[in-house]
Symmetry: C2
Subunit: 364 residues, 2 copies
C-alpha cells in the first residue's frame, strides 16, 4: 500500500485524492486550514507549511510526496526532500516560483516568449519601459496567481502608480501581448521519462481568473505547444503533471508561464479524457504506467467563481458533471466547476452555453 | 450541504462516497468493521448495525439514509426510518431479503420466473422435488449472497444432504434453469418517479461469484428486462438504483432476483456510461435530477477475487481503469475490479482478454 503526501489541501489536492483512492492509494494532506477541502478522503495534518514537526510527520508517513501549489516555502520543501522522494522534483518548484528564472529557462530552451526585463528600482522600471513601450505588464517575480501581483501600464503616469503598488519586491516587466487566444497544454511525465500530453485547452480569463477551458483536439498550435512542454519536462527531469500557458499571436506561439502541478485548464480531462490529469499525476508520482490521454469528444470546463448555481440546475443539464469543492462561497474564490462533454457538437455547444449562463448569473 | 448516511461500509459504500463527494455531499458510514473500506472520505460510525445509539447518531447527522446491502436487521431499519428518510424505502429491503416474498411480488407483477416452492420441512422438500423434478436448487429464503446458502440437488440422495445442510431455516426450492446466458438490468428511479436504465449487462459467474460483466447495448432482451425493472420500481415507489438479475432461456426471459442497491454487474458504468450507477443512486437519494445513462462504447468489468494482479500490470493496459477497494486479500473475497472501455471493438476484446487473464492468474 503506497501512501502519498500532498502539500496543500485545496481543490487540486481534493481531486488528486479522489483520483487516487480507486487505485488503492492512501493520502496524507498537509494544510493549515482546519476546513481544507482537499482533506476529504485523506489524513489531514493541520499545520503551517513551514512547521518542521509536521513536515517530519509527512515524510515519515508517506512513501512519496507531491504538492498542489507553487508557494510552498523553499526551506520547507528542502526539509521534506531530504527525507522522502518529492515529485515533481523541487527544482521545478524553485524555477517556477520566480518569473525571471522561469523565463530564463524558457529562453535557454529555445522557447519563444514575450520580451521581459528584470526590474529592481524605479529607475530600472523607467529604463525598461522605454525599451518595451506601452502598454506593458509589471509583475511581481514571485507569489503571483489568478491575476494578483500584476499591473498593466497603459500611460506614462501609470509607471509611478505601479511602482508605488508593487515596488517593494523584485519585479519583472513584460511586453504587452495582443494575443488572439490563450491556450494551455497539460503534459505528464512518468518516472521513467515517458511523456504524454492531452489535447490543448483554449482558455478564457476574466479579471485574471480562468472562467472557461475547452479541449481543442485538432488545434494547429497543439504540436508546437507539446514540443515546448516536452523540452521543459525533460530538462527538469520532471515527474508528474505540468501545465504550460501560452499566447497565440497570429502564427506565433509565445509561452506565458508554467505551473508545476495539475492545472485548472485541465479539469475537463476528468470526464473528457480516457485518463484525467489527476489520475495520471498520481500514476506518475507512484511510479506506475501512465494512462491514455486520448480525448475524442468535445469537452469543456466552466469555473464557479464566488458562488455556484444550484446543484439541481447544473445536474439538469444532460451532458454536465458537477464538481463542488465543498468550499465556503466568497467573492473571487474558485468554489467548484462543471464539465460538459459530448460526441455531438451541436448538443455540446448548447449545453456549454447553458452551463456558462448559469455560472455567469451568480459569479462574483 | 446535504449529508447522506450509508448503512454498510464495503466497496459499494466506497464507490457511492467517491461518486458523491464531487457533488458537494457529505457522508456518514455505519459499519462495525474498524477497517471498513467504505469509510474513505466519510465519517465512520464504527458500531454494530443494531446499535440503537449509533442508529440515532446516524439519523441525527444525516438528511437522508441509504444502504449498500440487504442483510440489515429489519428492526434497525425501522428504527432509522422512524427518524430520517430512508431510500430505497425499507419495504424494498423487506421484500428482497426474503426470496419467497420477492418471487411472490414478481409473479403478482406478471414477471416471468422459474418455478419456485416454499419448503419448511423435509416432507415438504420431498413433495416439491417430486413436482419440479431434478435437478433443482434449494436456497435459504434469507441471508444468501454470492452463491452462499444454496444447494443444487442433482440426485435423490442429495435431498437428504441438502436438508441436513440448510434445513434449519426457511427454504425455497427453485426449478433448475438451463440458461443460455445470465444478464442483469440496472435501473434508477428518482424521487419524482423518473426511471432510467443502463444497457443490460451480460454476466459470468464462477462458484456463485460474479467474475465478469459486460454491457450489451443492443441486446434483444434489453427492452423486456427494462419493462420488468420499471414495474418493480413503480410498485415499490422505489428511490435509487436497483438491479434485476435474469436468465435468458431460448426466447424466454426469467427473473432470478433483485438487489435493492447498486450492483456489481453495474460497475462498468463508472467509466463506461455518461453517469455511473453510483452517481445516479446518490442523485436520486439526494432528490436531484438523474444523469444520462447513455453508454456508447464497449464496456466491461472484471472482478478481482481473493487476490488482485499488481497495479502496474493492470494499469499497463491502455483502456483499463483500476478500482482497488483497499481490502485485505482473502480467498473468495471481492477486493477490487477493473473496467475496460473503448470505442474500438477489436481493441476492447483484446484488452478484456488480457485483463481477464491477469485476474484469473491470481484469483483464489
Amino acid at each position: 500500500m503506497i501512501t502519498i503526501g500532498i502539500v496543500g489541501g485545496g481543490q487540486l489536492a481534493r481531486m488528486l485524492v479522489l483520483a487516487g483512492l480507486p487505485l488503492g492509494l492512501r493520502f496524507v494532506v498537509l494544510d493549515p486550514a482546519a476546513d481544507a477541502c482537499g482533506a476529504a478522503g485523506a489524513e489531514h495534518l493541520c499545520s503551517p507549511f513551514d512547521d518542521r514537526a509536521a513536515l517530519d510527520q509527512l515524510a515519515q508517513r508517506c512513501d512519496v510526496v507531491t504538492y498542489e501549489f507553487e508557494n510552498i516555502p523553499a526551506e520547507a520543501m528542502a526539509h521534506l526532500a531530504a527525507q522522502v522522494p518529492v515529485y515533481p522534483k523541487p527544482q521545478a518548484l524553485a524555477i517556477s516560483r520566480d518569473r525571471l528564472t522561469e523565463k530564463n529557462l524558457f529562453r535557454e530552451l529555445g522557447i519563444d516568449l514575450p520580451a521581459y526585463f528584470a526590474v529592481d528600482s524605479k529607475a530600472s522600471l523607467e529604463a525598461v519601459v522605454a525599451l518595451t513601450g506601452l502598454p506593458a505588464v509589471l509583475k511581481t517575480r514571485t507569489l503571483g496567481y489568478d491575476g494578483k501581483g500584476q499591473f498593466v501600464l497603459r500611460t506614462a503616469a501609470d509607471v509611478d502608480t505601479a511602482w508605488q503598488q508593487l515596488g517593494k519586491v523584485p519585479l519583472i516587466l513584460e511586453g504587452f501581448v495582443p494575443f488572439d487566444r490563450e491556450i494551455s497544454v497539460v503534459a505528464v511525465r512518468s518516472r521513467d521519462g515517458e511523456v504524454r500530453t492531452w489535447p490543448i485547452s483554449e482558455n478564457v480569463h476574466q479579471a485574471g481568473i480562468l472562467r472557461q477551458a475547452r479541449s481543442m483536439p485538432e488545434d494547429a498550435f497543439a504540436q508546437q505547444a507539446g514540443v515546448y512542454a516536452r523540452r521543459i519536462l525533460q530538462r527538469l527531469d520532471y515527474v508528474g503533471v505540468m501545465a504550460l500557458e501560452l499566447f497565440c499571436v497570429g502564427d506565433r506561439l509565445l509561452v506565458n508561464e508554467m505551473a508545476p502541478r495539475v492545472h485548472n485548464s485541465g479539469h475537463w480531462t476528468i470526464e473528457g479524457a480516457a485518463t484525467s490529469q489527476f489520475e495520471n499525476h498520481i500514476r506518475a508520482v507512484a511510479g506506475w504506467p501512465l494512462g491514455s490521454t486520448a480525448a475524442q469528444d468535445h469537452a469543456a470546463m466552466v469555473n464557479f467563481i464566488g458562488a455556484a448555481p444550484t446543484s439541481e440546475a447544473v445536474l439538469a443539464l444532460t451532458d454536465v458533471h458537477l464538481h463542488d469543492y465543498g468550499k465556503a462561497p466568497r467573492a473571487g474564490r474558485k468554489i467548484g466547476h462543471a464539465t460538459v462533454h459530448s460526441v455531438d457538437r451541436l448538443r455540446f455547444e448548447s449545453q456549454l452555453a447553458q452551463l456558462k449562463s448559469l455560472a455567469d448569473a451568480v459569479a462574483c
